[in-house]
């Protein structure tokens, strides 16, 4: 357990350093700062992955069993997606927001009490290969939604104050809108597969594919909001602003689905380490 916890701290540190460096790059726009930002970000991602690998070695199965492990997995996915974007679009400006986002997600994860950071024996219901399939697909969806959230926020800012700081340094509004749409176009199928694999698993273990347990219900709520987003985007006469707002609401719903349900609403999914 000790190694995964140690790599977690290392990753946390590197994300913090990367966030500072990206902000410096944003402010001073020196190329060498940009390079060091990317380097720090890559180091953060590597230690993030090392945390997952060590945890897998320690517990002998995929590290998806509690909130802590899933947050580390989620962060790694977001970081990977961002790096692909940075390389593909050769633009580091989004890195500021992504690295701050990842720093914050490590920060809240670090706030979890110690008993929730260590591995607990799998309860009988979780001992199934569906755990890996269900959680992995769900989290690809979550991480895509995180990117769309950042893009939507920046889109709203950019379309309102395109020429003032800090938005004047950002990619143009069309790019941000398109990025938001693309993330959701990835997130939505994965969320759907996640919900369905969850239903198949529930049907196999609990005898019913849907029981309106809070986690299930919130996954449906999130799905409905993103469905609304996809339709808002093709509605004639509607500005992209409305779609962007729905993308933000969808992400907030996802955060509630992820964290809120575990801490506030009881139910079948309450194992997650929280209840």
């Amino acid at each position: 357990m000790i190694f995964s916890l140690m790599f977690f701290d290392v990753a946390f540190g590197f994300y913090a350093a990367a966030a500072v460096s990206y902000v410096a790059y944003f402010l001073f726009r020196r190329e060498w700062i940009g390079h060091s930002s990317t380097l720090l970000f890559v180091l953060a991602l590597l230690s993030n992955i090392a945390t997952l690998v060590m945890r897998t070695v320690e517990i002998h199965h995929a590290p998806f069993t509690n909130l802590y492990e899933s947050m580390v997995f989620f962060s790694a996915l977001v970081a990977v997606i961002y790096l692909i974007l940075e390389i593909r679009y050769k633009n580091k400006m989004l890195g500021v927001f992504v690295s701050i986002f990842l720093f914050l997600s490590f920060f809240v994860t670090n706030l979890l009490p110690f008993r929730m950071k260590v591995y607990e024996n799998l309860n009988p219901a979780l001992q199934s290969y569906w755990l890996e399939i269900h959680v992995a697909t769900m989290f690809v969806g979550y991480s895509a939604f995180a990117i769309s959230f950042i893009a939507a926020l920046l889109y709203l800012g950019k379309s309102k104050w395109q020429n003032s700081f800090p938005f004047k340094h950002l990619p143009d509004a069309d790019f941000l809108d398109n990025l938001g749409y693309k993330s959701i176009a990835w997130g939505m199928p994965f969320l759907s597969i996640g919900i369905v694999t969850g239903a198949i698993w529930a049907n196999y273990t609990w005898g019913s594919y849907w029981s309106w347990d809070p986690k299930e219900t919130w996954s449906l709520i999130t799905w409905l909001i993103y469905a609304a987003y996809l339709h808002a985007r093709v509605t004639r006469g509607w500005k992209k602003r409305k779609a962007a707002i729905l993308a933000i609401v969808g992400f907030l719903s996802m955060v509630f689905l992820y964290w809120g349900v575990a801490f506030i609403l009881p139910g079948l999914h309450s194992y997650g380490g929280a209840a």
Binding site: P189, I193, S208, W218, L220, I225, A227, T235
Partner: protein
Amino acid sequence: MLPYIVKRLLKVIDNLFSSTKFGIFLLLVIALVAIVGTVVEQGRPVEYYYKLYGITATGWIMKLSINRIFGSLWMVIPTLLLIINLVYSTLLRLPAVIKSIAVPNKFHTFSKLNDTISIRDKEETAKRVSNILKSLHYKIYYLKDGSLFAHKGITSRFGFVIVHLSILIILFGALLGAIYGYKNYVVIDSGDTKPVPEINASIKVDRFWMNYWPDGSIKQYNSKLSIIKNGKVVHTQIIDVNHPMDYAGFRFFQSGYGKSYDKIKEAIAVLYDKKVDKVVAKPVLAQWNKWFDIGQYKARMVDFVPDFYFDTKRGYITSKSLDYNNPAVRLQIKGPKGTPPFVWEFLKYPGSVLKEFTNKDAIIISSITPIYYTGLQYAKNPGANWIWLGSAVMAVGFAMSFFMYYRRIYIAFNDNGNTLTISGISYRQSDLFAKEFRKIINRIKEKESV
């Protein structure tokens, strides 16, 4: 012919159900109802709401079925409206989509992507351009005036139809489940057999056991089940929490366990002599309902209650709860004259019935080994396969919508064949298409040295 008011009404209905905005509104309404359903806990007893929300609010919660919101009209009405909206708008938009891809329309004046290229030979260039487009898997149409129309990704334009169809299939499955789905629960003590009328057979629990992790926490619950039909075992299977048993259209799940509340497996019996304050016979391992000899007595355990309670008004013995708070065993005893035929033994108060027995002897029961029962849930859901089918169809629809896109290119030759005008447009993924369009132009230009 129709009266004005009816026409007006039809117009309003048409406007409403063909509207995407109304669809979005309904999606969000359903989301809102679902949120209410998670904030107010569902299916709790009235007292729960009363304690939490007070009497007035509880009245409203009951009246408006907010305690059972997911099956209520709050959910059903927006869902029905959404189905109508979805079917109507899909059917309405389908012809427009077909039209937009079927007719090669000539020039995209509204296209952001266009370019004019000087060429050397019209015939040769036309051939080359069509080869380039073919290599990119475009479908090409040669128009009468010598211009070219090409498009690709037609299937993606029908993605929304497939996704909408998948939602109908899923809702149909849910409806089937709601009507024909069946669920029941049976509790069977380890070693016992109980009839399960739904499968026209009995189930015997040969054994129930638990596995533990090294730290003592529970790893798995297991039951070995036998299906008995006409006195014969026709099927035997071990189930655990993630491995149910399928039999006769039903699926049997390991979904509960506990200590039996009407019998025990075995216990240790000793004979105690009050006068000399001593155990006077060798302790016996007594089996449930089996006679055993102890001293000069013969006894057997015939009844058990986990939480002894004597109802003085009605004069009978019962159990206050299913928990082992005050377990008691009833012994049937045969012995010398004056021995009472039955006596209750309290495990927490050994020997307390001494007076009622004889003036000298008591049989004391201790160290009971409980029998565990297994809780089996069994269910049949004819809608489930429709749900899985719908999900697969949805995956196909999403792949069509999100991972493919429709684009078309129009190429015309002008200036007596000295220039070529190319324009392109895509439905979705405009950035990807812009890249592809650039690539096509560059490949055309390659051989047209100017």
